[in-house]
């Protein structure tokens, strides 16, 4: 590793271990300083290849710095900073260390230039994410964490297996555009690994399963890193892969449908991550320069507004302890600042003009129109209406307005509001000055040409959103949340296993029975025969010898006992007789 290049991910991963050694203000300063340094390092970086290491005859690249990795690194580092500020009040070193490691690994994956480095960092991300779930320390979160681990270990193995296949085919592990390998097993394995991480259905049920079970502050980091790293990898490796268009559009609608049914505030938001990542996956599939710009811009904007939304729902959870919409309501009186900041995030995700989603999402939708994909265009627009319906109307209505639940709440700690405020400010800045973001997109010329604020686009969006709101108020009664769970593909490993286990158990029992029979017939006879012979040897030889030794010892000791009775007077007498005999010898023996 060259000295002039410092890996911002390593700064976070190594620096995190300083936190447990510090106390009070110093610790809080370090929590802010570490991600600030990482962000500074990212901002000062210029394109090039850094940090190459020889390993097993291959070149590991820790620092592939280009326009695409840079823009993702900015938002990952920025979100780490915002998330740490939001978590300043939490007195739990473990969570802070894990969160910083998570952010560092996301940066590591972003700058990785080869598949092995990418694999290593995505495994670190997986472990960190699981720990953030477990560190909520409830039975539900422990179970959800194990399910998360199960799915992502499978995904990690797909990535490793695919990488090995590509390695053996080409002799290289460099990670770039994979289209040269299209159709090969390695290609599909790596694609599946990224699709799992991007939570593409039917491989995405882990996301709404685990994120709502994570700790209040941990969930903020989770919303940002894993899925968006996967989007980055898809943009890098699989642009223009046709199947992604359909998967992405399906995903955008899938999240919307589940959000209608959902009662848990953070799970509703989790389903909308799936919906929003759908736009990005679709953009990658369309694969034109504008679509890839759109996927990148939308990932950037999404990380910030989703953080605001999760921070808002997290603040309500932190203050009231409630997570279900049917138990909330009327909080706008006591949490007006949280409501305001939440609504900024909600307007951003709904693509209201002057907010960040408006300038990012439209690039993907426009590129669907430009490439003449009418069905995709209609599906994505439908999902836009659904996004506003849930995140902008349903959730705030039932959380902050609706029937007054009588909850006596208050605003969350100041640092939480500051974290939310920073992310919300970023949503507005990007919405008002889109060129600030566009200047950093991978295809600069195309980005500069794109005009988000056209008459038609603004009026169309206002019409779509306004009349979605009308539909919401007309059908309000239909949307009342009820306590329920919704079946998702996690059914297969949560319930399906329970269905599969009894027959599997029976099959195993039958096999065990057969093995037992074979054992009895073949093994037992032989073993018993040998045993019998050994017993005879034991009885005749070993026992006889032992008995012989015993008998001899007994006879000898019987003889001795008659001689040596142990009585002092006899011994004295014998001694006296001996002395007399000796004197007699001495006197008369000459």
């Amino acid at each position: 590793m060259t000295v002039e290049w410092i890996h911002p991910g390593f700064v976070l991963i190594v620096g995190a271990w300083v936190l447990p050694l510090l106390k009070g203000t110093l610790k809080k300063a370090a929590m802010v300083l570490l991600p600030t340094i990482a962000l500074g390092l990212c901002l000062r970086m210029s394109p090039g290849t850094y940090g190459t290491v020889q390993f097993l005859g291959q070149q590991l690249v820790f620092g592939r710095v280009d326009r695409l990795s840079l823009v993702f690194s900015y938002v990952f580092a920025l979100l780490t900073l915002i998330g740490m500020i939001y978590a300043l009040h939490v007195d739990d070193d473990a969570q802070h260390v894990v969160a910083l490691t998570y952010g560092g690994a996301a940066l590591g994956g972003t700058f990785a230039g080869d598949l092995l480095t990418l694999f290593a960092f995505s495994e670190i991300m997986m472990v960190a994410a699981v720990l953030l779930v477990w560190l909520r320390r409830t039975p539900e979160s422990v179970a959800a964490g194990f399910r998360y681990l199960l799915v992502h270990v499978f995904g990690g193995l797909c990535l490793l297996g695919g990488s090995m296949l590509i390695w053996s085919q080409t002799g290289s592990i460099a990670f770039g555009n994979m289209s040269a390998f299209a159709g090969s097993t390695g290609f599909w394995l790596i694609l599946v690994a990224f699709l799992i991480n991007a939570a593409v259905p039917p491989l995405g049920a882990w996301l709404p399963d685990a994120y709502p079970e994570a700790s209040v502050t941990g969930a903020v980091f989770m919303t940002a890193f894993t899925t968006k790293s996967a989007v980055y990898c898809l943009i890098r490796g699989f642009p223009g892969t046709e199947v992604l268009i359909w998967l992405g559009a399906f995903m955008a609608l899938y999240g919307v449908v589940y959000a209608v049914l959902e009662n848990d505030a953070r799970r509703l938001l989790a389903y909308h991550i799936i919906s929003q990542v759908g736009y990005m996956v679709c953009g990658v599939g369309i694969g034109t320069e504008m679509a890839l710009n759109g996927a990148t811009a939308h990932a950037f904007a999404h990380i910030l507004y989703k953080a605001v939304l999760f921070m808002g729902a997290g603040a309500v959870l932190e203050v009231t302890g409630r997570r279900k919409l049917d138990e909330m309501g009327g909080l706008y009186k006591t949490m007006p600042v949280t409501l305001t900041l939440y609504m900024i995030g909600a307007f951003a995700i709904s693509a209201v003009p002057l907010f960040s989603g408006f300038v990012s999402k439209s690039m993907v939708v426009s590129s669907a129109a430009e490439t003449n994909r009418m069905g995709i265009y209609l599906a994505l627009t439908l999902a836009s209406a659904g996004t506003f319906l849930h995140t902008g109307l349903k959730l705030p209505y039932y959380m902050f307005f609706g029937k007054d639940s009588g909850l006596r709440a208050h605003e969350p700690p100041t640092n939480m509001l500051v974290g939310m405020g920073l992310a919300a400010a970023a949503c507005i800045v990007i919405g008002v000055f889109p060129s600030l973001l566009y200047e950093h997109l991978p295809y600069l010329d195309v980005a500069r040409e794109y005009m988000p604020y056209t008459v038609r686009h603004v009026t169309d969006t206002l019409g779509l959103l306004g009349f979605t709101a009308l539909g919401f108020f007309l059908l309000l009664k239909q949307l009342d949340p009820h306590p329920s769970v919704s079946l998702d593909t996690d059914w297969f490993y949560r319930k399906g296993v329970a269905v599969l286990l009894p027959p599997m158990n029976r099959a195993l029992a039958m096999i065990e029975g057969a093995v037992g029979q074979v054992y009895e017939v073949v093994m037992q006879r032989g073993v018993l025969g040998t045993g019998r012979q050994l017993r005879d040897v034991d009885a005749q030889v070993v026992d006889a010898a032992a008995v012989g030794v015993g008998t001899m010892t007994e006879t000898l000791s019987g003889d001795l006992r008659t001689t040596v009775t142990g009585n002092a007077q006899y011994s004295g007498l014998i001694m006296a007789v001996g002395v007399l005999v000796a004197i007699a010898f001495a006197v008369f023996g000459r």
């Binding site: 206002l462 306004g466 009308l470 059908l475 239909q478 949307l479």
Partner: protein, 87 residues
């Protein structure tokens, strides 16, 4: 009482808010229909985009389809009791 609370809890003011909402919707629909025709807006990609106030109509349809459709799927299939996975 805060500003928002006054607007929502006072029946007279709430009614005024409702009327303002409907007026705003009508204005949006008219503007969406008229403005691209008055100004030199960019060409539409699909034929249906030139229908009068297309996005407003589509927004309303989308909202209804999403709510009714999802509820239907949920009631018939996906929604289970909260302790479904614990039993």
């Amino acid at each position: 009482m805060s500003f928002l609370e006054r607007q929502l809890e006072d029946p007279v003011r709430f009614k005024r808010l409702k009327i303002a909402f409907y007026v705003a919707l009508s204005v949006i629909a008219v503007v969406e229909f008229a403005l691209p025709r008055l100004m030199h807006a960019e060409k539409a990609e699909f034929w249906f985009e030139d229908l009068p106030a297309w996005e407003s109509v589509y927004g309303l349809i989308s909202c209804v389809v999403i709510i009714v459709g999802s509820k239907l799927i949920g009631k018939l299939w996906l929604m289970k009791r909260e302790d479904y996975y614990d039993r």
